[in-house]
């Protein structure tokens, strides 16, 4: 080390953060890379545990088969296009539904005065303390009694109430200046007109931010769809993957499983990367 000049030592120390960050990035990227590579090889190569680190030539076959056929070499599955559609319907309904019912209830709580206003507000607030996991069996029973097993309604409506979104919108509504409301009232605009013409346009950024968070929340649901969907037509893609793996034996259709995994990751990752700015804002705002 004594031969290193002062500036050389500096540069070496400056490299340390880069090295740590690159190692971090690699730890996060490596499993994805392996999965991508795996989805381009045949199942025998993967099953033997000899997966190379470079792409193979089976990509088209694997993705084609996973996308549209309901059976691999060893077992039958729900085709990916069916599962992707189910996941998409679930994620979109949950995200848009949560935003819709939260924004109108936040509007009611912020812009009106009426009996039991705070009682309603607290009732919505309490849902924060009852994640679906802790009330899973009785909620399942309610959905079963309503005949909603194996339906999109059963899959989405019980998850659609949102205290966080309501709180976020309410907080934002309280910052809309009184003068704006007064001006609208003088112009003869009613509550609904004001909501559509002023409040909704002002909320655009908040809506976009929440959409990213809630879309991912919906897409990644696990325990609930596991209980609510029995038929193969209703399977969501995240559940589908673990069903394909089963007990994880070497003789699985690993090529199809890896292709399915890649297709399951693409939509939420695309949403996060493409909407990064809103996503970070939404995450930090809605949790504060």
């Amino acid at each position: 080390m004594t031969t290193l000049s002062q500036s050389g030592g500096r540069r070496l120390i400056d490299l340390v953060p880069h090295i740590v960050l690159i190692v971090g990035v690699l730890i996060f990227a490596f499993p994805i890379y392996v999965t991508l590579i795996g989805s381009t090889w045949d199942s025998a190569t993967i099953g033997r545990g000899n997966l190379p680190l470079t792409p193979g030539g089976e990509a088209l076959v694997n993705y084609g088969q996973a996308w549209s056929e309901s059976h691999g070499a060893r077992a039958s599955y729900t085709p990916v296009r069916v599962m992707l559609l189910n996941s998409l319907v679930m994620a979109l309904t949950i995200a848009l539904g949560k935003i819709a019912i939260s924004i109108i209830s936040a509007y009611a709580v912020a812009f009106f005065r009426f009996p039991f206003r705070m009682a309603f507000f607290w009732m919505i607030f309490i849902t924060l303390m009852l994640p679906v996991e802790v009330r899973i069996i009785p909620t399942y029973k309610v959905v079963a009694d309503l005949g909603l097993i194996d339906s999109y309604a059963g899959l989405t409506i019980p998850l659609i109430a949102s205290a966080t979104a309501t709180l976020l919108f309410r907080q934002f509504f309280l910052t809309i200046p009184d003068e704006l409301v007064e001006a609208a009232k003088i112009d003869g605009a009613g509550a609904l007109r004001f909501f559509v013409d002023v409040v909704l346009p002002l909320s655009k950024t908040n809506i976009a931010a929440l959409f990213v968070i809630l879309f991912i929340y919906g897409w990644n649901q696990y325990l609930w769809p596991l209980l609510i969907t029995n038929s193969a037509d209703m399977e969501t893609i995240v559940i589908g993957i673990t069903k394909m793996i089963g007990t994880g034996e070497a003789a699985n259709d690993w090529n199809l499983i890896m292709a399915t995994t890649v297709l399951a990751m693409l939509p939420p990752i695309a949403v996060v990367v493409l909407m990064q700015r809103w996503f970070v804002k939404g995450l930090v705002d809605s949790e504060k």
Binding site: G24, F28, P31, P138, G190, N220, I241
Partner: protein, 294 residues
Amino acid sequence: MQRRVIFDNKLLPYLLLAPQVAVTLVFFIWPAAQAIWQSVHIQDAFGLRSEFVWFENFQVVLSDPNYVGTVKTTAIFSVAVTALSLGVALLLAVLADSKIKGARAYKTLLIWPYALAPAVAAVLWMFIFNPEIGSLGRLLNRLGYDWDYRLNGDQALTMVVLAASWKQVSYNFIFFLAGLQAIPRSVMEAASIDGAGPARRFWSITFPLLSPTTFFLLVVDMVYAFFETFGTIHALTQGGPGKATETLIFRVYQDGVVNNDLGGSSAQSVILMVIVIALTAVQFRFVERKVHYA
């Protein structure tokens, strides 16, 4: 808090609240009440009659050595996941926030794992650490280390901890980064001028000023480890081998859905509710005060 200027429709606010309130009543309040009701009743074998038994279900649950074991597993699991994901995220955030080249690129490359489902994260880890098909799993065995998380309980627990933490780092990273950006540059510069080195600046300025963020994340990560990791465990180990990776939420599912024990499962649900309420209450108390112990 209430606005000064408001609209004065009589019916409209109720209509606007109706959908949210309906969903909350039918799918939140009612099932939660059911869980509480069932937790103090025992049903006969045919589900025809139920008898009020006070806290017998809770007694049965809490005196079951298996349940105590599950509590222990959950404690180890959630503390490990929280500590690991917080520590790694803080390190990466501090480095990515400093004025280094490519900070933006590092940020983008580190936040996307947030998009992955816990179960998918588990599957990715399996592709690598499975002793038969995973490259690292095979490598461990070839090096003479007897690696099979499907048979060895400690290895299984290590696997689920790593997979669950791996997925949570990006969430913590985003919040630490936001917290770091809120620290005024002038404070850091002043400390620099006074001769404080990077380590000293971190421990006496950055870390205390980050404490509200850290505390908030501590609670969020605990809740994550308690509940959302159901997918990780279900996909990777199914609670096994034996009960080595069975956490409280996995057991509720196991007892309620697989074994169909309503009273016991409801008592467990109520215990979980108490835990969530306690965590939420603690979180709000401290967030209100905006702790930093500086």
